[in-house]
């Protein structure tokens, strides 16, 4: 017993901000449990929560990678739409043209990955080679990808996929939603990338200071290109889950996810100026968002109120971060002044 307590006391979050996130997450879960114990802690609700967030969790992972390098990717949802339309077309027309269902699904997924790589390459070339600021580059490609998706579908929705495909978004393995398992795998891979590989290390470095990283022999161009390709692939995976869950695809699906992805990434401790961002923080951010979202749903709040809430939450978190930082600096300066006065005396 004693050793467990000691262990808990000795446990430290690697990122200091995660301590507060953990408290907020626990508080959110606790509040929801106290307010409606029967609905919130029911197996159905937990299962549906676990199935709801992966599609947008992948988008958040993508957004975080871009933010770590000091950029931003406004085109994630558009890329997801574009790849989703292609996949939907292959799935509906492929089976109609006589392809076996499994090969149609494989083909669709391969097409998603391939097109996602092209999308990421477009962003990467613009940002790393041409030198366009990420906001502008991805703003442009957002219009391009979404425009392509709209042109292809002429604004109509495509629906009616093979039932095997629906397993990706709706199926469960021993009661655990399959999309949740996919997200866990994805998060672990991204975690390994960020913490165990050269690519991840240099991404943080570029985010802190591109000049320093260049002078220490890092090929910035290559690292940034790879980052945006990865971002687009994650968006592609999100799109597969999205269309499988909805059993249809229409350009403009998930446009609200852009704000939510930025919100969660900032909430999870990433800095829009680059250099910060970690998987545990992001996951806690996602859980906080999902728990409040489900809570608001159960309490029957309107989607407009939720829109209001997300904007409010984003601003609140950013402001608290700013004040905490300011207060930390203030205390440090005060301490230094005190030490200086002792020294001079």
């Amino acid at each position: 017993m004693n050793t467990i307590m000691q262990k808990i006391k000795a446990f430290k979050f690697k990122e200091p901000k995660n301590k507060y996130l953990f408290i907020v997450m626990m508080a959110a879960i606790l509040i929801m449990t106290v307010l409606m114990p029967r609905q919130f802690l029911s197996a159905v609700n937990i299962q549906s929560m676990a199935a709801q967030f992966p599609e947008f969790g992948f988008l958040a992972l993508a957004m975080m990678l871009a933010m770590i390098t000091g950029g931003i990717d406004l085109s994630v949802v558009a890329a997801a739409n574009f790849t989703g339309v292609i996949a939907a077309l292959i799935l509906t027309n492929g089976t109609a043209a006589g392809l076996a269902t499994t090969s149609a699904i494989l083909l669709a997924i391969l097409a998603v990955i391939g097109i996602a790589i092209l999308c990421g390459l477009a962003n990467g070339v613009l940002i790393a080679l041409v030198g366009v600021p990420p906001i502008l580059a991805t703003l442009g490609t957002q219009g391009l990808f979404l425009g392509l998706a709209t042109v292809i579908t002429e604004g109509y929705s495509i629906s009616g996929f093979p039932t095997e495909f629906m397993f990706l978004g709706n199926g469960t393995v021993f009661g655990v939603p399959f999309s949740f398992i996919l997200f866990v795998i994805g998060a672990v891979i991204v975690w390994m990338l960020l913490n165990r590989t050269r690519q991840g290390f240099t991404m943080y470095m570029i985010g802190s200071s591109p000049t320093v990283s260049r002078y220490s022999g890092v090929n910035n161009t290559k690292v940034i290109m790879k980052t945006y390709i990865l971002t687009a692939i994650l968006a592609g995976i999100a799109s597969v889950i999205m269309i499988s869950r909805a059993n249809s695809m229409r350009p403009g699906y998930g446009s609200a996810y852009l704000l939510q992805a930025i919100l969660v990434v900032v909430l999870g401790g990433a800095d829009p100026d680059g250099g910060f961002g970690n998987i545990p923080g992001l996951i806690m951010g996602i859980i906080i968002l999902q728990v409040t979202q489900s809570g608001l749903n159960i309490m029957a709040f309107s989607p407009f109120f939720k829109k209001f809430m997300w904007g409010f939450a984003l601003l609140l978190v950013m402001t608290i971060n700013y004040i905490a930082q300011w207060y930390g600096n203030y205390k440090r300066v005060k301490k230094m002044k005190a030490q200086a006065s002792i020294g001079s005396a």
Binding site: I72, L126, V130, G131, V132, P133, I135, L136, A137, L139, G140, T141, Q142, G143, L144, F145, L146, G147, L148, T150, V151, E154, G155, S255, L259, I262, L263, V266, P272, D273, S302, F304, F305, K306, K307, F308, M309, W310, G311, F312, L314, L315, M318, T319, Y322, I323
Partner: protein
Amino acid sequence: MNRMIRQLTRRSETYVLLIVILFSAFVTAINPAFLTLENLFDLLRSSSGTAILAVGIFLVLLSGGVDVSCTTIAIVGQYISVNVLIRTGIDNIFFMFAISIALGIALGAINAVFVSLFRLPTLIVTLGTSSLYHGAMLEFVGTKAVNVGGLPQSIKTFGTMDVLTLYRPDGTTYGLSVFFVMLVAVLTLTYFILKFTMVGRGIYAVGGNLEAARRAGFNTTKIQFFVYMYAGMLAGIMGVMHLGLIRYSNPNYLVGTELSIIAAVVLGGTRISGGTGTITGTMIGVMLITILEKNLIMIGLSSYWQQFFVGVVLILGVSITYLQAKFQKTGRQIILKEEE
């Protein structure tokens, strides 16, 4: 003269203007109806509001920020003010403008609090506030659209008011809308502020380097508040104009069109990093986007291509600008090396 030409070739606005002229010629060749006074007046009427909004976004970009909440502020101003008009029964366009502008300035000031006092990144602040404003309006004010039947008379009169009336051969009339006069007024005022006032010069300074501007003695907080409140005011004006134009107040309109307006401003040569840009350039950018958006149908392409073309034009435009900057830099480095 030579120097002037050389300077012109260096500015991306020149190329954008060339593209505008070429595209107009192309559209005219396919559909001669494009280059008639009537169509031009119509284009001016329908794009004046967008242009006014673009001026606001231009100022924000100039000061080193990005504002994606302008269109939301415009629709909030429009929807709330038209509802106030209907509920109170005061049928006066100036009253509507007053409410919409006051709302715009207030919401702009909220943006400024986060940007200036808390020093948060402008893109994320305005993303957050636009969600906040729009959500709050839909939740607490209403979601029902106001159609022509329920619209106060003064707005309808305002929407069709002309300052110059011309006759078609068959005796019917068309004219230059009052919207254009408002655009000219806004442009003149903004030009005057940027050129001749301390605040205006300060906007360039803040956009160039905030810290340097502060140390040079500019009141950067005041300048940033001015920029966001001014942009909010213009958004408020645009909201009323938009209603006069389309005579239908849907609380979900306008939201989502901010990116193409930012694209227009950036195409006009304004740097997203702040400190560089002109009003003339901004207007040329708006012209390009307007012509692209309004005339795809005239050359026989469906409106689905709109977003695609705006994206392509934006990518090409900014790529050229930044490639130019890159080559100029490397060119300078080569010269420096040779001098060594």
